[in-house]
């Protein structure tokens, strides 16, 4: 506990009722040092069923998705739909500073556990609600999923190939992670406000709103120019100029800039190609101050062809090394394997070794962002097992007796 007092959120307690949509919020607060208690329904949260799994063994105690998003949390089970469960939850609320939840709007109110109920128990409580479309409005009862959030947040229509549907990220939801971050921002902002007013409040995160925060040109393009951004032909990754290029063992990200950036970025690339004997006369003699919207497709072809040929002769690691040496803004399209081998990430100390005694293993985690000089966030414990801290919380803290604990267990409360 001594160590926790030095952290940013050491003095604060978080009750985390969130599902898949809001798990990141509690992880961020936990990594910042808050005492986060993950509250799961008896048997465990549904998100434990999401893969991939440790050694591909499908087991609610082995979900890597769960591991990744529940670090620095303790875990208890509690059925808040039972009367006894609600009594215990209210007791916990008396001791807490934050509640994170992602139930459909109105659900907690129907149990007598909505913000208006909890503020009566603890006026300083800050409730962070993360829902598909927010607590009110015409879409408040709409359901979401990652693809729906991405579509309705506007970050999908302009991306992908024109001959196929708009595209969103593969695998687990990115939209929910944006919302989880926004929940953590909201929690810290409401905490700041609480110092001034002495009161807590409800923070209302809409996943749709979180996604729309990624749009930039999509919204300003319509607002200022009445232009809807479009998907492009396959293979050209964005239109007239190539942005993602195949190389010997994967892809690299590089494009010839137009406008004021062109000299600073394009010249080092051409000089590099020249030093490798890969540049053509056209390329070395090209006047970059002319490069821009007026450049013809034929000229672009003459610029890009020797570049593409050079890339195909090298691996992404070789190209990144050359880019670093020559000050060229080229980067590899990395995979997690590349990240584990990154000397930069290693030097920054992002990796955290976490023991999993129940698996007899130690797992290398991506730790929280580094670089805080005084109060760095860190993973203080691995994700909790189902009900791992029931005794610690119920018996040691809330003075529930061992007999009562047995009764509550058999009654399906915990």
């Amino acid at each position: 506990m001594q160590e926790k007092a030095e952290s940013v959120l050491g003095p604060y307690r978080v009750l985390d009722l969130a599902d898949e949509k809001g798990l990141l919020c509690g992880k961020i607060l936990g990594d910042l040092g808050a005492d986060v208690i993950k509250i799961e329904r008896p048997g465990g949260d549904e998100a434990r069923n999401l893969g991939p799994f440790y050694h591909d063994e499908p087991d609610p105690e082995k979900s890597l998705f769960w591991f990744a998003l529940n670090t620095s949390k303790r875990g208890i089970t509690l059925n808040i739909e039972t009367v006894d469960g609600r009594v215990l939850f209210r007791k916990l609320v008396e001791t807490a500073d934050f509640v994170i939840e992602s139930f459909p709007p109105g659900y907690l109110d129907s149990l007598g556990l909505g913000y208006s109920d909890l503020e009566k128990i603890n006026p300083r409580i800050i409730m962070v609600s993360i829902t598909p479309f927010g607590q009110s409005g015409p879409y408040r009862d709409f359901k979401t999923s990652d693809i729906v959030a991405w579509a309705m947040g506007g970050e999908m229509a302009p991306y992908g190939d024109i001959d196929r549907p708009p595209i969103h990220f593969s695998h687990h939801s990115q939209a929910f992670l944006h919302a989880g971050c926004d929940g953590a921002q909201g929690a810290l902002t409401a905490l700041y406000h609480r110092w001034d007013t002495g009161e807590g409040q409800q923070v209302d995160v809409s996943i749709q709103d979180s996604v729309v925060q990624c749009t930039e040109h999509i919204t300003s393009g319509w607002d200022l120019h009445k232009m809807n951004q479009k998907r492009t032909e396959p293979g050209s990754s964005g239109g007239r100029i190539t942005q993602l290029w195949p190389c010997k063992d994967g892809y690299v990200s590089w494009f010839y800039w137009g406008g004021p950036m062109s000299l600073r970025t394009n010249v080092p690339m051409v000089e590099w190609l020249e030093s490798e004997g890969a540049a053509t006369d056209f390329l070395t003699q090209y006047d970059w101050s002319k490069f821009g919207f007026e450049t013809t497709p034929e000229e672009i072809k003459q610029i890009e062809e020797p570049t593409a040929k050079f890339f195909m002769e090298h691996t992404k690691a070789e190209l990144f090394e050359g880019a670093l040496k020559n000050g060229v803004q080229l980067y590899p399209v990395s995979t997690p394997a590349d990240m584990l081998g990154s000397p930069q990430l290693e030097a920054r100390g992002i990796w955290a070794e976490m023991e999993h005694p129940e698996l007899g293993d130690t797992i290398t985690y991506p730790g929280p962002t580094t670089g805080y000089s005084e109060s760095p966030p860190r993973i203080s414990r691995r994700a909790p097992l189902i009900g791992e801290h029931n005794r610690e919380i119920y018996v040691d803290e809330l003075a529930v007796s061992e007999e009562e604990l047995l009764v509550l267990k058999q009654a399906g409360v915990i």
């Binding site: 909201g186 409040q201 409800q202 607002d223 920054r348």
Partner: protein, 394 residues
């Protein structure tokens, strides 16, 4: 007038374009006094032109002071301003603030409890600290390009995606540092890396590699535990609606909505495994139904039956048509003194039950010079005029 949430917090802001301004926008839209320090002779990208895009959107509520920091007198003015501020933010490439004579060590001497945030591609330390880049490139480096797109094609393009993840972790860092300072009296240096912020959204896939040595790639729009799950073509020009069906109950509702209740017992689709096996045929069936209806109709009918569905909204949909954004006042219209109007989102990405922020337009270049140099720094009129003439205040 009620007190602004961050009233009394002053920020000296050296940031430009996306990640940096998005970070300090959270502070200015909540009422902190954010003073952009810029220069008429070395303007940041797109600065100085109202209605050009990102500056309008991401510099809301900020003040602008123009000063030449290459002139020692200009640098001195900036240092005086920092001495009366709480936060300094920059997004220059690694090492640039040190070279300008405004590194953290210097700032800490001027203002011992200063909170300084530097947001860069890969941080201020490590072998790659000064490699130039942009959000487009970091989207590749942090692993996102590899998981966007169709399995039979090249990685997909999603512009500067990580430019919208990094500010979120920056804002968290600043709010955390303010909390820490309040309790301990200590400021700190926040050396933020866009690479590391992006990685926070890749945690599960990184663990999959660490534990299972698996590297997953692009799977189009597929979801391992849902079908149908895709964007489907609707009536009109390039109109699409996303639909996702997870449970048997949702599948039944889906079949009812498309007027084909018999489909739910069709052996090709009756179970989840069957739907997954015959996903392509299923997608064709769904497209047949959606292509004769508007995306809005598809969404409303599906949602009314409890199936998650949503229009793939264009810029026009987001700003002009979506009633939920209207209800939440997500986009606010702002106006420049010459009447130029534009719309943008609030810097804080959430609503609060006991506080409503009041967002103001972006500043014009040097609009607040008099306030900053005369009122705050106390320059007498004649000296102020002289420094303008000598292009120190430029």
């Amino acid at each position: 007038m009620t007190k602004q949430l961050l009233e009394g917090i002053r920020v000296v802001d050296f940031t430009w374009h996306l990640t940096g301004p998005l970070t300090t926008k959270h502070l200015s839209d909540l009422g902190a006094e954010v003073i952009i320090v810029e220069s008429r002779h070395r303007p940041g990208w797109e600065r100085g032109k109202p209605l050009s895009g990102s500056t309008d959107q991401y510099c809301t509520g900020k003040l602008s002071a123009t000063v030449n920091t290459r002139d020692p007198r200009g640098l001195d003015l900036v240092k005086k301003l920092i001495a009366m501020s709480d936060i300094v933010a920059d997004n220059f490439a690694g090492g640039a603030m040190d070279r300008m004579g405004l590194g953290y060590k210097v700032l800490k001497e001027i203002k011992p409890d200063i909170i300084m945030l530097s947001t860069s591609m890969q941080g201020q330390t490590g072998p790659h600290f000064n490699h130039p880049g942009s959000g487009h490139k970091l989207t590749a480096l942090a692993g996102f390009s590899n998981i966007l797109g169709w399995p039979d094609r090249e990685p997909g393009w999603i512009a500067a995606y990580t430019d919208f993840i990094a500010p979120r972790y920056n804002i968290i860092a600043i709010m955390a540092a303010l909390e820490y300072r309040r309790r301990t009296g200590k400021g700190q240096y926040l050396d933020m890396s866009q690479y590391e912020a992006g990685m926070q959204f890749m945690g599960t896939l990184v663990l999959d590699y660490v534990v299972n040595k698996r590297v997953v790639g692009r799977t189009g729009n597929k979801c391992e535990y849902a079908a149908p799950y895709n964007a489907y073509r609707c009536q009109g020009e390039d109109r699409w609606c996303a639909i996702s069906v997870f449970t048997d109950e949702e599948w039944e509702s889906f079949c009812t909505v498309i007027g084909n209740p018999a489909l739910k017992n069709d052996p090709k689709f009756a179970t989840f495994r069957a739907r997954k096996t015959n996903e392509e045929e299923l997608d064709r069936l769904v497209n047949e139904w959606t292509s004769t209806r508007t995306a809005e109709e598809v969404m409303s009918k599906m949602q009314a039956a409890g199936v998650a569905a949503g229009v793939a909204e264009t810029g026009e949909d987001l700003l002009d048509n979506d009633p939920q954004f209207k209800h939440r006042k997500t986009f606010v219209q702002l106006e420049y003194p010459d009447g130029g109007k534009y719309r943008t989102q609030m810097g804080n990405h959430f609503l609060m039950s006991k506080y409503t922020p009041d967002m103001k337009r972006a500043p014009l270049l040097g609009e607040h010079n008099e306030y900053v140099f005369k009122e705050l720094l106390g320059l007498p009129d004649d000296e102020y005029e002289r420094l303008i003439k000598e292009e120190v205040i430029d």
